[in-house]
Amino acid sequence: MSFNTHKLLQKKKKNILELWMKNQLADEGLREDLISNEELRSQSEELINALVGNLSSENFTDLQSEEWSPVIEILGGIAITRARQGFSPRETGNFVFSLKEALLDVLQQEITDDAMTLFKESLKINRLMDNLSVVTFETFIKGREEVILRQTDEITEISTPVIRVWDGILALPIIGTLDSARTQIVMENLLQEIVETGSSIAILDISGVPAVDSLVAQHLIKTVSATRLMGAECIISGIRPEIAQTVVHLGIDLSNIITKATLASALAYAFKVMRLEVRKAAVVGKF
């Protein structure tokens, strides 16, 4: 006795699609705000075409075989798009599980007389769809991780701006913790900017750094030394009282680095070094 499930499914492709769409649209987790019904339909149709088209009796449970790669590719594409669009894992999972239901429903309608065959074939479909949902989930999570990585990159990019406060004076406000990777970026940005603008003084403002431990201090010292090697002077400003306390308690030697309490006093010092003077203008009539 041989029952060709794949032939049956190929014949009933239309039915499956309709059932699947019905399942999906009936699902209360349907996200019409993220994806339009037409788009959902074309996604589903594409997947079914690939799935049913590649079915054969040999490869039914063997997901490693060549013939499955287009299906996995399409499924992966859908999962990644969904991860980017902000679908929840449950919604993405339901997308595949509702297809399984549709397939099983069709099978049930067709095999009415033989319970044994129905069971066997259902089991096969179950296994296949479970495998496919694992693939979907893997790709979905990969997509989410990509999003997180991109955001991390963006945060580091945003959080290290080099500001030109005066001709020849650069300021670099550091906000958030300084780790090795960030120090590297800060250093590179600062040194590059020094070369581009020909600045001779750089002010490193650490008022936004929540805590300074020996590692952070070491990173700061490195940045200052690198600036000095370039031929510019580096001032560290924005040192809060608590930070001064910790630095001294930790026994970190900052004696050969110019430190100022506020950005304002650092700027005043920079002006003095550059022999610039800021004065109140004499009042001449009305403005």
Binding site: L191, I194, K222, A226
Partner: protein, 136 residues
Amino acid sequence: MDKIPILRMGAFLLVTIQVDLYDRLALNLEADLVQMVNKTNAKGVLIDISAVSIVDSFMGRIIGNIASMSRILDAETVVVGMQPAVAITLIELGLPLKGVHTALDMERGMNFLKTMIDVEADDDDQDAADYDSIAE
């Protein structure tokens, strides 16, 4: 064999390194430069390394050595035009080049040397004046 030219300009010596240094070249430069400082009685040495894109710990040490040697021979050394990548590398190697003066470009380096030498010259004048007043 390659040789890095050492140019004399008034009381200063100019060294522009236009090629990537390899060890032998750097050692030769070190020897030539101290000879030259001694011969010309230079007061300052300007080393332009803006074209150097690769340094290792050896190169960092040579630059430090040249500066220390020149200082012993009474000439200040200024390293100018270091590239960001080179600066980061030296720091990561733990070679902050203590005692070497640095400047962003040739012009600033030259100005720095001039003020430095002027100050020293003024000091000498002062000493001479003191000596004169004592002699009177």
